[in-house]
Symmetry: C2
Amino acid sequence: MEKDEKIIEMSSRMWEKALPHISVDSVVFGFHENQLKVLLVRMAKGQKWLLPGGYVFKDENVEDAAQRVLRERTGAERIYLQEFGIFGNVNRSEDFFRNYDDNLWHKQRFISIGFYALVDYTQVNLEIDHYSDTCEWKSIDHMPALAMDHQTIYDNALTVLRQQLSYKPIGMNLLPERFTISELQRLYETILGRKLNRGNFYRRIMRFDVLIKHEDQRKGGAHKSPNLYSFDPVKYHASLQGIDW
Amino acid sequence: MEKDEKIIEMSSRMWEKALPHISVDSVVFGFHENQLKVLLVRMAKGQKWLLPGGYVFKDENVEDAAQRVLRERTGAERIYLQEFGIFGNVNRSEDFFRNYDDNLWHKQRFISIGFYALVDYTQVNLEIDHYSDTCEWKSIDHMPALAMDHQTIYDNALTVLRQQLSYKPIGMNLLPERFTISELQRLYETILGRKLNRGNFYRRIMRFDVLIKHEDQRKGGAHKSPNLYSFDPVKYHASLQGIDW
């Protein structure tokens, strides 16, 4: 079977090139027009889906490895990945490669370093690597079963992304340059997975103090034309650093 | 030389017991009465100080390893450590063990997983392990030179601790049960390393909505007796989860 040979070939290459026991896995959230998706790969039809992951070469920085692996597996480049957690429990993986010899690279105990990103998925060019069969954006409302402990890694990344909404602004590069408060609210609702109270949302978002209100309004709706806002880039980037006490 | 033998003995034990290429390092901040300190160890007099660190056993979860290493190196138990970053660059360490054989365990490339904690240092019992010579709380205002890249790991932990002040309440178990707003402000000032404006601090801390104001006041000061506050434990723990949008 062709797939098997690829894995065995990869195994001996990895024993030579990579650091044992260490892997990187990336959770790339893609947003566009009120849809939140996540980037998944699959080795062969009928197999479970995986987060795009891989290994750290002996002469490579860990963050560079995460970028390279994502590029190799999905074709996606220039995605800013942030480390968000370690998945280091013994026996964290089910025996995904149980039909292979024990000296297979993939059968080691791996401690995985989790990275995440949130991007506009229409801006990402996907290409399938020689190793995976498929690479797709999957809606977070219709997630397929994930292999090994990738569901846990994904769940943790989503929790971190949602927590980030509490203390960091979000939305630049995900919304059009000018947007209404309702459009911003829908971004938050999509990430949080639930409806928010309009008044509470308005008050809380205003506390971040990162918006510029414009004179012009969004035309064409059934109701009173809503005001347009944009992010103040200086305040936006300053508030990424946290409160200025 | 006695020290050398200990390291060589430890090296062969580690090749047997631990996962290669992976280390854990902990930055334990200790606070008490407006003093912020950090827990450091030193292998021998005249050598540079280090963060308490070690390795992950083959049959051990990573977080358990961080707890065990801290206990073995300093005697400190039941300290809740949080992972905050990965230090995974090639050549991140100076050649701390340059006088030893290349097969020494310690001379590998290590990817270090950083953990941090903030505790009341009077509640921590320190004991020196058989491997280090010294273990001490050092004031963050008078830090000694740290070996390898431990200064970077420490700097990152302090940045994360300071960012945490923006979005999580802090102070439970560090302040007396009832405290004045000035006492809380001094805790924040100590961690941030600078004075804060009293009015701004009051407004910002009130936004967290985690304090209960009490009828009784702190007696004995030269000025008007200030009100006493305590943390509302339910609201405090809820706000650790982030904003309820």
